[in-house]
């Protein structure tokens, strides 16, 4: 774009840090790291007996629910993984579309500037042409007069 001026720094910063854009970017980054569900680590803060309680819970979990929760967790991870892959795919496509849109907008702005320049040039050429026609008319009338004088 040949003739655009950059925005003043305060306004450029304003458009770069729109709350909606910043928020969406943060959530997208969170999504990249939170799709994989990790097993929680069991801890107890009870003095002295804490390690014993933790061990007991671990054993109970292994006996009672691990076989069931592990399957569920695996299903959820697969679902999350597919979802994030799909979101990343759309995100990539969206970025591509945005790039195309950016190029299109840049092209439109350039065309707008060319358009204004051409309107200016056309007006000036029209003015020059009009002036030349007037001078031509004047010359023709002089020739006519000269010929009339001769005859």
């Amino acid at each position: 774009m040949k003739n655009t001026k950059p925005l003043p720094p305060n306004l450029q910063q304003q458009i770069d840090t729109t709350p909606a854009t910043t928020d969406a970017h943060t959530k997208y980054q969170q999504l990249q790291s939170s799709w994989d569900i990790t097993e929680p680590t069991l801890v107890s803060h009870t003095p002295l007996l804490g390690p014993l309680i933790t061990r007991f819970r671990q054993v109970w979990l292994n006996i009672a629910t691990r076989w069931y929760l592990q399957a569920l967790r695996q299903q959820q991870i697969e679902f999350n993984s597919l979802t994030v892959q799909q979101i990343n795919h759309h995100h990539h496509q969206l970025n591509q579309h945005q790039d195309h849109l950016k190029h299109a907008l840049d092209w439109l702005v350039t065309q707008s500037q060319h358009n204004h320049d051409h309107t200016h040039d056309l007006a000036q050429i029209r003015l020059q042409l009009r002036n030349l026609n007037q001078r031509l008319d004047h010359l023709e009338s002089l020739i006519d007069q000269h010929q009339a004088d001769k005859s």
């Binding site: 925005l7 439109l108 702005v109 204004h116 320049d117 003015l127 009009r130």
Partner: protein, 418 residues
């Protein structure tokens, strides 16, 4: 060579200073050119414009005079702007008087479609462009203009503003680039604005023609004020908006008053209630009894008489929109000493006529007021010099002559193929 000139401007009854400016200029300009007024069909002019001393009237050389079958040869021909496209080829040049208000909306599409010479009364056109109507399902003129000037970031900013996520940066972005790019040439009232325009388009012809003003001599209106006849009166004039800095002027006045109990402050005009709440300030400064507000003064003669009522005129504007202040010139025309901020066009006022202080410097403002309040001789000297300056440089006949010379030079320049 006598120019065939199309003249496009708001005209009275449009309530803008540019309409009054044109009403003063047109009769004088018509003595030097074959002038045709291009008018707003929604608001036809109420004045009958004549060129009383036009030697060209006897020659009927105006291309439109015969076509429009004007009864009186001294009447300046007029055509509504929607008929202008059928006639524009008949003119050597079209002169647009452009300012930052919706009074110029009628001419805007023609200005872009049929480029001419633009007298840019305001450097900043942001308020005008923002207020323009737009047709549904098309980009707004605001977005178009911001995009044209600042590319994609400009479009993003326009969307934010139009969706009310942020407020328009009125004084940061002038939004005049598209007009500069299209125009054949530009005229301004100040070198300050001319330099800003040149920075954007050094290839466009740009000329300075001073603002128009005549010296005045009118009786004062002191009898209408509840103050002593020998009171020293400081005044500010025009609609009171935030950027007129009246609060600073009143604070400086309040500081001075205890030492000068015969000092009073006159506000010629009315506050814009959305921008300035005067009463709480007067209460805070305890100067209710020493300040008088005239309210809006619709009649120009009365307006001028109020200027002659004051001893000192304070005309502060911050930020500046690149404007030329008619109020400042009216103070000089009335031979009144003037205090202004030293920036923009105001810096170009001769130092012999005006006290110029750094913008927003309250101490300098206090000192300038103190100097003038305590020194009537200096007030008179500044006032006389100001009125002489107006007499020599701003009278309508002088300005019309400058227009004619400039436009003729421009015509020769523009019609010479490069």
């Amino acid at each position: 060579m006598t120019l065939n000139l199309a003249y496009v401007s708001p005209l009275p009854p449009a309530t803008t200073g540019i309409a009054d400016y044109s009403a003063d200029l047109i009769p004088h300009l018509a003595t030097h050119t074959n002038l045709t007024l291009i008018t707003n069909p929604q608001l036809p002019p109420t004045l009958s414009f004549r060129a009383p001393f036009n030697p060209l009237d006897t020659q009927t050389t105006s291309p439109l005079k015969q076509e429009l079958n004007e009864v009186e040869k001294s009447t300046i021909p007029q055509i509504p702007i929607d008929h202008y496209p059928n006639h524009h080829q008949k003119f050597d040049l079209t002169l647009y008087q452009m300012g930052n208000s919706l009074h110029h909306q009628f001419m805007y599409p023609y200005l872009l479609r049929y480029p001419g010479v633009i007298m840019l009364h305001d450097y900043i056109l942001h308020h005008f462009i923002h207020a323009l109507n737009h047709t549904p399902n098309s980009p707004t003129p605001y977005a178009q203009t911001l995009g044209h000037a600042h590319g994609r970031p400009g479009l993003t900013l326009a969307n934010q503003i139009l969706n009310q996520q942020s407020s328009p940066p009125w004084f940061d972005l002038p939004l005049n680039q598209h007009l500069i790019d299209t125009s054949l040439a530009l005229l301004t009232h100040s070198h300050y604005t001319a330099n800003l325009l040149r920075a954007h388009r050094p290839d466009r012809p740009i000329h300075v023609i001073p603002q128009l003003m005549s010296p005045t001599d009118a009786p004062h209106l002191r009898a209408k004020l509840p103050w002593p006849v020998d009171a020293t009166i400081i005044a500010s004039a025009g609609q009171v908006t935030r950027n007129k800095q009246l609060d600073r002027a009143l604070r400086a006045f309040a500081r001075l008053r205890p030492q000068h109990p015969n000092l009073y402050y006159l506000i010629i005009g009315a506050p814009n209630p959305q921008e300035f709440d005067l009463d709480p300030l007067l209460t805070e400064l305890k100067i209710h009894d020493a300040v008088h507000l005239t309210g809006y003064v619709p009649d120009l003669n009365t307006f001028i008489r109020w200027f002659h009522t004051a001893d000192i005129i304070v005309n502060l504007r911050y930020p500046t929109a690149g404007e030329t202040s008619a109020t400042a010139l009216r103070a000089l025309a009335a031979a009144r000493p003037l205090i202004v901020y030293d920036h923009g066009w105001y810096s170009e006022l001769p130092a012999t006529t005006t006290l110029k202080i750094p913008p927003q410097d309250d101490e300098a403002l206090y000192q300038a007021l103190h100097t003038l309040v305590t020194n009537p001789q200096q007030r008179r000297a500044l006032g006389r010099a100001g009125q002489t300056h107006i007499h020599n440089h701003h009278q309508p006949a002088t300005i019309a002559h400058q227009y004619t010379t400039t436009l003729t030079t421009l015509y020769h320049h523009l019609t010479t193929p490069t």
